[in-house]
């Protein structure tokens, strides 16, 4: 009987260690994939991702990464299939789990099923919509625009605050409605995007994009909401605004710039007085990934526009995490206390068991560093009215110093009253990330 008790005392730290699997945190576990991504070898990166599917609880992240890599590789259909699967899991696992919650109090936060932060869920729909636009399926893109609305509504219900009002997802929804000629739906989305930018501006510096201001003025005039139109003219300081006319086509350029910040683990180790035990607390912290370009200059027919920031993923991610920190810290402290108590009771019975329990507690205390790492650091946009016909578009990516880093040429054909969307992803090389 005595022997059996001893075994069970030894069993729990061993069990914990077994559950832990690899000791590396999520964000530290994929240098090879990062290298392929930075080198622009998306097929290779997809292969590496498939080789390391990770645990089932990180399935959503795996799918989001896969979808983004498939998009980068130009396989938009497959990318949307991955997004659809991720949506299904998010839908299924968004309810709180009893066992996972207790595990997060006992082992660590990374034991829960990952369902994505609000901005990740909003951007999932945004990128799925962009995939459909690239496939030329406007109707399916509109479905994603409607899903953005449902997702953001339910996040607002969950009291996610201003961060749930993702401005870019709303803005893109508006663009999709407008290209289908659904002016009132477009206007509603543009208004929500505008409110979103204003709400976000209270947390971090972001300006309402001038393209959006132009859209609000154009659509309020078109729908005939003249009171609102006059109010926008006053707010935007353009009393003499003129409608550029409907006869022309339009070019929308999107620059997906850099890579989203990465979560790193920060660890504090304490040695309580008079007890032969070590207590550790690990917390996540976002680290921006350098190497972004400052923007793009778009040259068409001798005209020139600069892209503007429409979504600052880095800032949104950091504010999302800081909003979660009190709860994360509270859980980490509760865990430290639980582990401390278990170790103490084990140590009183048997010194070796106490030691093993302590080591297991230390090893299992890992920060939850999971996040969608293939997202860009920011999204920039430019809208440009063009006469119908063939055009040569030149897109110059600019370094922070103002020099041209990369030039892309596109030949586009703009039809009357239609819109062409061009997307360009800029992923910095590893060397540029080391020397910001």
């Amino acid at each position: 009987m005595q022997r059996l008790c001893r075994v069970s005392r030894w069993a729990w730290p061993l069990l914990l260690m077994a559950m832990l699997g690899g000791c590396a945190t999520y964000s530290a576990s994929r240098p090879a994939l990062e290298a392929s991504l930075a080198a622009g070898q998306y097929e290779q990166a997809l292969k590496q991702l498939a080789e390391h599917p990770g645990p089932e609880r990180d399935r959503v992240l795996h799918l989001l990464d896969r979808a983004m890599l498939q998009r980068l590789a130009g396989d938009y259909g497959a990318s949307n299939a991955s997004f659809e699967e991720a949506k299904r899991i998010i839908d299924e696992f968004s309810t709180i789990s009893a066992t996972e919650t207790s595990a997060s109090f006992l082992i660590n936060d990374a034991t829960t099923t990952y369902v994505g932060e609000p901005f990740e869920q909003a951007l999932l729909h945004a990128y799925a919509a962009l995939n459909y636009l690239d496939l030329g399926d406007d109707e399916a893109a509109r479905v994603e625009a409607l899903q953005v609305d449902l997702t953001l509504q339910s996040l607002a219900e969950d009291d996610e605050g201003p961060l749930a009002r993702d401005p870019f997802a709303r803005y893109l929804a508006g663009i999709i409605y407008e290209r289908r000629g659904e002016w009132s739906d477009a206007l509603i989305s543009y208004r929500m995007a505008y409110e979103g930018y204003k709400a976000h501006a209270r947390l971090y510096p972001i300006a309402v994009p001038s393209a959006l201001k132009e859209d609000l003025l154009r659509l309020t005039a078109r729908v005939g909401l003249m009171d609102e139109h006059r109010r926008f003219r006053e707010e935007f300081g353009v009393p003499n605004w003129q409608d550029p006319g409907l006869q022309n086509g339009e070019l929308v350029v999107l620059l997906h710039n850099g890579l989203a910040p990465i979560k790193r683990e920060e660890r504090a180790v304490l040695v309580p007085p008079r007890v032969p035990q070590v207590v550790s607390i690990a917390l996540p912290r976002y680290e921006p990934r350098p190497g972004v370009v400052s923007g793009a200059r778009v040259l068409v027919d001798g005209r020139e526009v600069r892209t503007e920031i429409v979504e600052d993923v880095t800032a949104i991610a950091q504010h999302t995490l800081s909003g979660r920190m009190p709860a994360i810290t509270a859980r980490a402290l509760a865990r430290a206390v639980t582990k401390f108590k278990i170790t103490e009771s084990a140590r009183k019975e048997d010194k070796a068991a106490g030691l093993i329990s302590n080591v297991a507690g230390l090893l299992t205390e890992r920060a939850d560093t999971r996040s969608w790492l293939t997202l860009p650091a920011e999204i920039q946009l430019a809208r440009l009215r063009l006469p119908a016909g063939d055009h040569q578009v030149c897109m110059e990516l600019l370094s922070p110093a103002g020099g041209v880093v990369e030039t892309h040429e596109f030949a586009i054909s703009v039809a009357k009253d239609s819109q062409t969307v061009l997307s360009r992803h800029w992923i910095p090389s590893l060397s540029s990330r080391r020397t910001p």
């Binding site: 839908d91 696992f93 789990s97 449902l150 219900e157």
Partner: protein
């Protein structure tokens, strides 16, 4: 003694692993196509079937067929246009459109002509016949039947959500529009409403 103990342990581990694996194998059971299986609350085969059944009934009972026969002395010819998906889900509209087409053709009271997507291939084949088929079996160009009506439609949804409960409302509208004079000869509608309740907690 110690050896037999570890052997016992190995047996227990193997047994546990076996039980674990058994749970992983795929299980397939066949069910009737009209059996209702609602899993996620999203648009599924049952919705598609309900829409096609309702539309077929409404279309064949409608006065438009008899009106057409009385006025023109021949059976009406219909071409399938686009059914717009304006819902919040990626709905495959082809399933119920094909159902409607099949049932209406088989009723023998309405004729369908190939839709825009289908006829391209037929025309290719006819062009090919011109060169390769024998004189007696060759089908001439310019003998296609022009449709009298076009079948168009849309799916719209309204979703109302509060906490864990959501009401999903689908409305499918279909029209037969006369290609001669834009008159709407027939309008069909099917409404579906579902309440989806999610558990507050999972295991």
């Amino acid at each position: 003694m110690s050896l037999s103990l570890s052997a016992k342990r190995a047996a227990v581990i193997a047994l546990v692993a076996l039980i674990g694996l058994a749970g992983c194998s795929t299980k397939v059971s066949r069910i009737e196509t009209d059996e209702v299986r609602d899993l996620s609350g999203k648009w599924n085969d049952t919705d598609s079937r309900l829409v096609s059944e309702e539309m077929i009934g409404q279309m064949l009972e409608g006065a438009w067929v008899n009106n057409h026969v009385r006025r023109h002395g021949n059976l009406p010819t219909v071409i399938v246009g686009t059914v717009k998906n304006l819902s919040h889900e990626h709905v495959n509209v082809n399933t119920f459109v094909a159902d409607i087409e099949r049932a209406v053709i088989n009723s023998g009271r309405v004729e369908f002509v190939a839709s825009r997507d289908e006829r391209g291939e037929i025309r290719e084949e006819r062009k090919d016949m011109d060169v390769h088929a024998s004189e007696a079996t060759r089908k001439a160009m310019g003998q296609e039947i022009g449709a009298d009506y076009m079948l168009t439609g849309s799916i719209n949804t309204i979703v109302d959500k509060e906490g864990k409960t959501a009401v999903r409302y689908y409305q499918v509208d279909m029209n037969l529009i006369s290609l001669t004079d834009n008159r709407k000869a027939w309008v069909g509608q099917k409404k579906i409403k579902k309440v989806v309740e999610k558990p507050g907690m999972r295991f």
